[in-house]
């Protein structure tokens, strides 16, 4: 069979709830019933909650209201705290830049680290393509905040210049900030 990509509709489907077995199976079962195809997705446990974010494609014949009703029902059955469904207006957004570097920032937790760092990046035209943060060590002294970002750096900027731009902020915020070339293992 030849796969012919059609002009598909695209939707964002997400949910969050207390972690338990069966959430992925339940939500993807609903997706299958409505002819949805899960394209890119990321699901993980954040602060003890299972969170899922699915980018799905749908046939033109999709009944959006029926899907919405089905998602509400599925969410109730799985005791999810919230579900979200949104049809994307711009089905194929501009190609995102390829990440080239990893920015690692860590230090004693306090409000404002992520905003301070991302503001420096934004000002220099650095695009964040992936971001994960971890807060650990609560209850054993000062909690540690770790932020990892994959970024696309404008070629005229360079990793050294970005690290230099982050240095004053690192001192001011009392955090460590390093910029490294993204690992590209091919096995």
């Amino acid at each position: 069979m030849v796969y012919v990509p059609a002009a598909m509709r695209h939707l964002l489907l997400s949910g969050v709830g207390r972690d338990r077995p069966g959430i992925v199976a339940g939500v993807t079962g609903l997706a299958l019933e409505h002819g949805l195809n899960v394209e890119d997705s990321r699901s993980t446990i954040l602060g003890g909650h299972f969170t899922m974010m699915l980018m799905v494609s749908a046939p033109d014949s999709l009944d959006l209201e029926a899907l919405r009703g089905g998602l509400d029902e599925t969410g109730r059955r799985l005791e999810l705290e919230a579900t979200f469904l949104h049809e994307l207006v711009e089905p194929s957004a501009a190609k995102s830049p390829d990440p080239s570097h990893v920015v690692t920032v860590y230090g004693a937790d306090h409000p404002g680290i992520i905003h301070a760092v991302s503001s420096v990046l934004a000002k220099r035209g650095v695009s964040i393509t992936d971001l994960a943060t971890h807060l650990v060590g609560e209850g054993v002294g000062r909690p540690l905040y770790v932020m990892l970002m994959e970024v696309a750096i404008p070629s005229e900027l360079g990793a050294g210049a970005l690290e230099a731009a982050l240095a004053p902020l690192a001192t001011e915020q009392g955090v460590e900030a390093t910029v490294r070339v993204l690992g590209r293992d091919v096995l």
Binding site: V136, L144, M149, E150, T178, L182
Partner: protein, 165 residues
């Protein structure tokens, strides 16, 4: 002698470059060496410790991977003063943890074989050829002497993990 408190990040000592042990520092060594061993052995599955992790700002480390299932070739208990990596070869990603950041582990790329120059606590010059897990541990501990933690060597967003309890 004594099990010492292991400093945790963000203790500033962990981000400083430790000076070499020089003439006149020998008096420090017998106790420091024993404290490093005692502190390492007091922690389950701990295979190495740097002096800076117990707040002693000199270049000394202990490594002992002999009981670890990942260890292949090894030198037993290694107490090294002023260790210096003279040669490094190969490259492999492995999961690491650290007593100074006990809640996280990370995948870190390290050389698979190293040749070290160091002194023993008794002042003898040693050249050590280490490979595999022992080489990894030595690189991790020597990083500590330069104020480098494993989080500084992560090269992907997906490479840091919460340690399972």
């Amino acid at each position: 002698m004594a099990v010492r408190e292991v400093l945790r990040y963000p203790h500033p000592a962990l981000k400083q470059v430790a000076p070499a042990l020089g003439p006149g520092d020998e008096g420090l060594l017998p106790d420091l060496a024993q404290d490093l061993v005692d502190t390492m052995r007091a922690h389950e599955r701990c295979v190495g410790l740097a002096a800076t992790q117990i707040g002693v700002m000199v270049r000394a480390v202990v490594v002992d991977v002999s009981e670890h299932p990942k260890a292949t070739k090894h030198h037993g208990l290694l107490l090294l003063v002023n260790p210096r990596i003279a040669l490094a070869s190969g490259s492999k990603v492995g999961r690491e943890g650290c007593l100074s950041i006990p809640e996280l582990t990370a995948n870190v790329r390290r050389a698979t074989a190293v040749v070290l120059e160091a002194s023993t606590p008794e002042g003898e010059h040693r050249v050590i050829e280490a490979e595999g897990f022992e080489a990894l541990c030595l690189q991790h501990e020597i990083d500590h002497l330069d104020g480098i933690l494993f989080l500084d060597r992560v090269d992907s967003v997906d490479n840091v993990f919460r340690r399972k309890r």
